[in-house]
């Protein structure tokens, strides 16, 4: 599986994502600067965590306007896989590649902790190696992770099986405990928790490996 990690100004989980990808796939991902207009030929594009452009406007809003995002959209429209983690999820909603919005956490505080989630859907390239209903633990680290969408959208997401992860204990006030969702074509996943931080047993678990293994199985 060939992959690329997009680097926006003040992305800060770009290295973590690249390290996890290399560890899991055995290949170094391309690091692609936000001003690039084209992507290298890859199977997976990762939008990493961080504070793109300082997130001084709405989180992810500035990054969604950067040159590289046109290429990321084109990649997704052709059916390519896109994984947005944390700030990457925010960029995906701001780019309208995923519905809804990520608001300030309900208690208005940044939260960093390991959270338990259930895997709600496994019929997609990101989670097929997990069992349906499996409980997994990933860390979250965000100030704006409170997922919001109108009732109709939420019903549709649930009806179409696009809610992939749900928090067991909601850390941020997200609607219906949603932690991660799929696009309509099921090739774009956005989630607030960090799978790339749980591929090494020394760092508090390996529950994130399943996601990379799923991608490798499908995209290699």
């Amino acid at each position: 599986m060939k992959s690329a990690v997009i680097v926006f100004p003040a992305s800060n989980c770009d290295r973590d994502a690249a390290v996890a990808l290399e560890q899991m796939t055995g290949r170094k991902p391309h690091l692609v600067w936000h001003q690039e207009k084209d992507l290298p030929a890859v199977d997976l594009v990762v939008l990493p965590g961080g504070f793109s452009y300082g997130d001084y406007l709405r989180s992810g809003a500035m990054a969604s306007q950067s040159a590289v995002m046109r290429a990321v959209k084109a990649h997704a429209e052709k059916g390519g896989a896109v994984l947005g983690i944390c700030n990457g999820f925010q960029v995906l909603t701001e780019s309208h590649m995923l519905p809804g919005a990520l608001m300030r956490n309900a208690d208005l505080k940044f939260v960093c902790r390991a959270v338990t989630m259930t895997v709600e859907e496994t019929q997609n390239v990101f989670t097929r190696r997990y069992a349906n209903g499996q409980s997994v633990s990933f860390p979250v680290a965000h100030g704006d992770g409170n997922y919001f969408a109108d009732e109709e959208t939420l019903n549709r997401l649930e009806g179409e099986g696009r809610v992939v992860f749900r928090y067991a204990q909601n850390p941020n006030g997200s609607a219906r405990n949603i932690a991660g969702i799929l696009s309509e074509k099921r090739n774009v996943l956005g989630l607030m928790p960090h799978p790339e931080r749980v591929v090494d047993p020394l760092l508090g678990g390996t529950d994130g490996r399943g996601m990379f293994e799923s991608l490798i199985e499908t995209l290699s």
Partner: protein
């Protein structure tokens, strides 16, 4: 031309004697800009004029020390060509006035000190002291400082992995915010600040200069009073986004070989960076302020030289490399400007709008800065053994202590910091020391910040010794070899002999402990004048220690891991109750002597425990500190969610045994047969030890002859205080 009047001199915090000295050094009256430059460079904050002669006594060398005090940060060799660069610095006064920005820019400033030396920051720590919880400002200050630290560090993508927090009435009007940054570089790619050579371009990089922070260093060198709120405009505003870009751009620039010297613009901004770089390089610097990138219009030379706008650096490049450097900063969308040149005149010359506005010998700002041997007096230290009510039930006291503001869980704080970013945090907040892996290796850096201010108040010398010993012990308790430390000396007004006495004794105590433990000081910071309306803070010489784990797979944590293991206490227990948490929280008294540290025993005990961890024989260790043995056992049980059954191992008095704060002690667990063997070795080594109990299957803490308490109930108390306090649910009693 602004006329220099005695009032103007006084407003700049310069004494009559100091002003006379300036005139002698210049052979004339200074210009207004020169007066401003002298005032910041000769401030306590920049010149260390009260402490320099005492700081020289500290041990700063060891075979592994690559850079001691005097640079932006200290550097140690951690093997395999890797260097660890670290420093701790205070941002106390600004954080009291404007807690979010004060703390945020404190984090930003210390990060720049580390990455200006070529290191990528890999961990942040902080040591915070607030006023008593019932004080009306405390909640607001805690909330602002914590979100400021998080707001800056989280955006930078550097994990904040630990620290310490105390509450005490002496900080009601003067909180302490000490931030420590730890970075990694290669030993052959370390950058220093000596602007060597003449004719080299001096370049300005980072964000633009505005009118913020003017006189910050002067403010940090005076006592506070009721009108300190009016000083809010001197607090700088941080922009972590720009700092993140500056970090990446500087590291990219440093990967070329274009840089001769580089230094961040911290306190006293352009003034101190240019003067210090010229001084260290034995050169001169000529600046043309018209080229300085400016955020505001019509800035005067005085304002530009004294601005403390954040996220700026000054560098000296090899001639002809400007375009290459500029391209890097353009890519990162940062300002870049050649603003001067190095000279061989040994003078700092500042030009603005075609005129020379300052022209002074560099040494007048450094070597010739005032140096005071201030008079000091030492207080008598307390003696005797405090009385206590021997009938108080042990478990009830434990419940009170675990929920006390100084002792309860700090989860509310550290969950606001991203402590797992960079994917190398192998020991998270809540343990004895934080551990971050050296990227792409099995090595780990163990980091701890420590000081017990109430001990330092009782005995500044023993208290400072204890602070060093505790940092050394915490690092040893995870299995790492302590290598070096940075100190952050927070004290009151040095012009008062009794405060100067605390400073001198504190430095002497640190020095003695460092020498005995082979744990040199490689950098630090002094924050004096921490007083409000004449009331000084408790003496608070915070110590930030760093150690090396050769293999992060052989590391101890505090959590009980297996049922049925013996709990072994290593170190001597005499039952010292003076200045303990027990005495303060249960008996309501802060009295008696602080516990003395036997440094020779400390070293032998720590070396023994560390070897057990290195050999893979023990993986569960906790040092015994605030609160004593029973608190340590409870913390181990809560961390592992495994119960324990403990007794007093043949001692006669249970309160001094369980709550005394004798130093140099560790608790560890091992399977009974392994524990037997370890006890045998301890006897042979002549180290005092005792089995005090075992881990058990029930999730309770059981104390011989006292009863038991469910871990769930202890956890609720331990975890409950902070969130309740911060949400305003519980108004703590003032005492």
């Amino acid at each position: 031309m602004t006329k220099i009047t005695p009032e103007l001199v006084a407003e700049h915090g310069l004494s009559d004697d100091e002003y006379g000295r300036i005139k002698r050094l210049l052979n004339r009256e200074p210009s207004f800009v020169e007066l401003g430059i002298f005032s910041v460079m000769w401030s306590e904050h920049c010149s260390y004029k009260s402490t320099r002669i005492h700081l020289r006594k500290l041990p700063t060398k060891a075979p592994w020390v690559l850079q001691g005090p005097g640079e932006n940060a200290g550097v140690i060799d951690i093997g395999d060509g890797d260097a660890c660069i670290f420093k701790m610095e205070s941002h106390n006064h600004p954080s009291f006035i404007e807690p979010y920005q004060g703390a945020a820019t404190g984090v930003g400033g210390i990060m720049r000190d580390v990455f200006t030396m070529g290191a990528r920051p890999v961990a942040m720590m902080n040591a915070l002291r607030f006023g008593e919880p019932s004080h009306p400002k405390t909640r607001h200050l805690v909330s602002g400082v914590v979100s400021g630290i998080g707001g800056y560090g989280n955006c930078m993508g550097v994990p904040t992995v630990g620290g310490e927090v105390n509450f005490h009435a002496s900080y009601n009007g003067n909180i302490l915010v000490n931030a420590m940054c730890i970075g990694l570089a290669r030993t052959n790619k370390i950058f220093r600040s000596a602007a060597k050579g003449a004719g080299n371009p001096v370049v300005y990089i980072g964000s633009k200069t505005g009118r913020d922070g003017i006189h910050g260093a002067t403010m940090a060198s005076a006592e506070f009073s009721e009108d300190s709120e009016e000083k809010r405009p001197t607090v700088q505003v941080g922009d972590p986004f720009t700092e993140k870009l500056l970090l990446e751009a500087c590291l990219e620039l440093m990967a070329t070989d274009a840089v001769i010297a580089i230094q961040d613009m911290g306190a006293a901004g352009l003034t101190s960076s240019s003067a210090e770089m010229a001084d260290k390089g034995g050169s001169g610097i000529e600046l043309d302020l018209d080229s300085v990138p400016q955020r505001e219009t019509d800035m005067t030379a005085y304002e530009m030289m004294l601005s403390e706008s954040q996220e700026r650096m000054l560098a000296v490049l090899k001639p002809g490399r400007e375009a290459e450097a500029e391209a890097i900063f353009k890519k990162w969308e940062l300002d870049f400007a050649v603003i001067g040149v190095t000279t061989d005149t040994h003078r700092l010359v500042v030009k603005h709008r075609g005129e020379i506005v300052a022209d002074m010998p560099v040494t007048a700002l450094s070597d010739e800065a005032p140096l005071y041997e201030r008079p000091f007096s030492k207080r008598a230290t307390a003696t005797g053994t405090p009385s206590y009510d021997a009938k108080r039930p042990i478990l009830k006291s434990l419940r009170t202590i675990l929920a006390a503001p100084d002792m309860c869980s700090r989860r509310w704080i550290w969950e606001q910091y991203d402590y797992t970013v960079m994917a190398d945090t192998v020991q998270c907040p809540g343990g004895d020391a934080a551990v971050v892996r050296v990227h792409n290796s099995n090595k780990g850096l163990a980091i701890s910040t420590d000081v017990t201010p109430r001990y330092c108040k009782a005995d500044p010398y023993e208290g400072a010794k204890q602070a060093v010993a505790e940092a050394w012990r915490n690092i040893s308790a995870v299995g790492a070899k302590p290598l070096a430390l940075t100190d952050n000396l927070n004290f009151g007004n040095p012009e008062k002999p009794e405060i100067m006495g605390e400073i001198v004794s504190g430095i002497d105590g640190i020095g003695e402990a460092c020498r005995a433990l082979d744990f040199p000081v490689i950098g630090g910071n002094c924050s004096l004048y921490n007083e409000t309306n004449g009331e000084a803070i408790l003496p608070t010489p915070a110590i930030g220690g760093v150690g090396l784990l050769q293999d992060v797979h052989r590391m101890a944590t505090i959590a009980f891991k297996r049922v049925g293991e013996a709990i072994l206490l290593v170190g001597d227990t005499k039952g010292h109750l003076g200045q303990t948490i027990y005495l303060r929280e249960i008996e309501g008294r802060e009295e008696g002597p602080c516990p003395p540290v036997d440094l020779a025993a400390e070293k032998r005990t720590g070396d023994f425990v560390r070897r057990l961890i290195e050999d893979g024989r023990v993986d569960t260790v906790h040092d015994v500190s605030d609160g004593g043995i029973l608190v340590a056992v409870a913390e181990m049980a809560l961390a592992g969610d495994i119960g324990a059954d403990v007794g007093i191992a043949g001692m006669t008095q249970s309160i001094p045994f369980f709550f005394g704060e004798d130093q140099g002690r560790y608790l560890l667990t091992a399977a009974p047969e392994v524990a037997d063997r370890i006890e045998h070795e301890l006897r042979e080594a002549g180290l005092v030890h005792a089995i005090i109990g075992q881990t058990i299957g029930e999730k309770v803490l059981r104390v011989e002859r006292e009863g038991e308490i469910a871990l769930a109930s202890l956890r609720a108390l331990h975890e409950g205080w902070f969130p309740k306090y911060m949400s305003g649910e519980e108004i703590p009693p003032s005492n």
